[in-house]
Symmetry: C2
Subunit: 285 residues, 2 copies
C-alpha cells in the first residue's frame, strides 16, 4: 500500500493569490490549502513549528537575480528542496465584474509590478498608477471596497480568488520575466513521502559551499564536477560580508545526489571547501 | 595642463535623494548636478543622447542579488564602467521640522523599504505603514503637503534635499544590506578624462561571456584566469532564455585590462567563449 501524505498547509510569503501561490498550485495541484505569511522568515518558522507541511519560496528571477535572503534561510534551517518550478510573471489588469475598461481611472499594484507595465500606462495616459502593498492584495482591496472606477494589477490566480474580472491580460513590458520557486519539506516528511517523478526525469542537486581566496580555489572546486562530466546548471559567487576574500557559492548540477559519481564529486569538493551544504535533490522543473 | 572635465549632469534612476544619488555623491562629490530618470533604460538613453555626462546604476545588492536588467543594458549599450562603490542601505524615519516622533501616526515609503523595517513597526504599533512609489519620493510628498502626523522612510540624502528632519536613524532590520553601484561614462569621455586613482589602488575588470553547454566549458574558461594567477571576485551564471544549455556569465577579476597578463587571459577566454564583452576596468571600490 502506498502511503498517502496527510493534507496540510503549504506556506508562502505574500497575500492569497501571490505568484508564490501560483507556483504552489503548479507544484501540488489547485486543491491545496495555503498559509500566507508576512515575510520569508515566517515561512521557514511555520515549517519548523509544524504549522505548515511544506513551503514554496522564490529563489531567482530572470530580471532581478537570486534571492540571497532565501539562500540564507536555506542554510540556517534544515528543510530539503524536493521540487522546483518556473513561473512566468504575467501581470493582468482586473476590476470588479461589471466595471468596463473605459471606466478605469486608477490602477493599484505593488510598485515593482507597476514599473513592469510602463508601456501599458504610456498607451493609456488616462489611467493613474497607485502604489499598493502587494499585487494580490490590491485585487483583494478593490473587491472589498467595490471600487467601480479602479483596477488592480495582479496574477490570474488573484483574480480567481477574489472574484475580479480580467480586463487586459499580460500587460507587462517584458515577457522574459520568470521566477524559479523551490518546494521545501521537513526532513521527516521528505523521507516518509518521497516525491514521485517520471521515470525519464532529469534530477538536479543544489548545494552551497564556501572557499577562502578564489584564484585557484574555485577552479579546483569545479574540477570535482568537470572531471566527472557532471553538468552545472548554476554557479554564483557571493562575497561573505566582513570576511574579505571569502566567498559563498551557489551551485546546481544535473544528477542524483545518491549516485556514486555525485557522491564522489561532493566528497572531492568537501576536501577543498571550508563549508559545504547540500540543499536538496529534485526532478528538474 | 591637466584637462578638467566640464561640469555636467549625472543620470540615475529614481527621485532626487534615491540611494543612487547617494552613490553618485560618494563617487563624484556632493556638488554634482543630477538628472533623475523614471527607469534604468532612460538612464542609458540620457547618456546616449548626450543629455547626461555620466550615469550611476545599481548592479547588485547583498540581500536581493544582481540586477540582471542593468547587465542587459551594459551589453546593449557601449558605456564603460569607470568606477564602483558600495553604499549601505540605511533607512531613516523623517518628518517635517517641528513634528515630534510622538505625533507620528503613519509612515510612507516604498514597500521594499517598509518590509526591511518590520522590527521597527512591531516596536511601534501605533504607526501605520503606507506604501508609496519611491523612498525619496515619500519624503518629497510629505514636505510638499506639510503633513504633521506623518513620516517618510528614506535616505539621509533625501532628508537633506527636501528639508525633512530625521527622527530615527537606521531603523532597518538587517544592517548587512549593501548595494554596489557602477559609474558609467561615454567611451569618448572615458578616453578624454581618465579617472584618477591612488597609486596603490587595486584594479578590477568586469566582463560578460557566454558558453554553450557548461560541463567542461566553464571549467576551461576559468582556466584562462586560474593558470595566470588572476583572482576572480565575482562569477555568476545566468541561463539564456530560449537557448537551452547556453549560459551567460558575469565575471570580475582583479587586474588592469591593459596588462599583458590580463590581455592573454582575455585572449584565451575569447578562444573558448561564444561572445565576450569587456564592460570596464576601474579602481576597486
Amino acid at each position: 500500500m502506498t502511503r498517502r501524505p496527510p493534507k496540510a498547509l503549504i506556506a508562502f510569503q505574500g497575500e492569497r493569490g501571490a505568484f508564490s501561490e501560483e507556483a504552489a498550485r503548479k507544484l501540488l495541484g489547485a486543491g491545496i490549502d495555503v498559509l500566507p505569511c508576512p515575510r520569508f522568515e515566517d515561512v521557514f518558522h511555520s515549517l519548523q513549528d509544524g504549522e505548515a507541511a511544506g513551503a514554496v519560496i522564490p529563489i531567482e528571477n530572470t530580471l532581478a537575480g537570486s534571492v540571497h535572503e532565501n539562500y540564507d534561510h536555506l542554510q540556517r534551517f534544515d528543510f530539503p528542496i524536493v521540487a522546483e518550478t518556473n513561473v512566468r510573471i504575467v501581470h493582468n489588469l482586473m476590476a470588479p465584474p461589471g466595471v468596463p475598461f473605459s471606466r478605469i481611472r486608477r490602477a493599484y499594484s505593488h510598485p515593482v509590478a507597476l514599473n513592469q507595465c510602463l508601456d501599458f500606462f504610456t498607451r493609456h495616459p488616462g489611467i493613474e498608477r497607485v502604489t499598493y502593498y502587494d499585487t494580490a492584495g490590491s485585487a483583494k482591496m478593490l473587491m472589498e471596497k467595490g471600487l467601480n472606477d479602479c483596477a488592480a494589477i495582479a496574477s490570474a490566480v488573484a483574480a480567481e480568488i477574489y472574484g475580479a474580472r480580467i480586463l487586459r491580460r499580460s500587460i507587462e513590458d517584458d515577457r522574459r520575466n520568470f521566477t524559479r520557486f523551490f518546494l521545501l519539506r521537513t526532513p521527516g516528511y521528505a523521507r516518509k513521502y518521497p516525491r514521485q517523478a517520471p521515470p525519464n526525469a532529469q534530477w538536479k542537486t543544489s548545494l552551497v559551499f564556501s572557499t577562502r581566496n578564489i584564484p585557484g580555489a574555485l577552479f579546483r572546486c569545479l574540477s570535482a564536477f568537470a572531471l566527472r562530466d557532471l553538468n552545472l546548471t548554476k554557479i554564483e559567487s557571493r562575497p561573505l560580508r566582513g570576511k574579505p576574500w571569502e566567498y559563498l557559492f551557489y551551485l546546481d548540477f544535473l544528477g542524483r545526489v545518491d549516485t556514486p559519481t555525485a557522491q564522489n564529486a561532493i566528497g572531492h569538493l568537501r576536501e577543498l571547501a571550508d563549508v559545504l551544504k547540500v540543499l536538496g535533490c529534485y526532478p528538474r522543473g
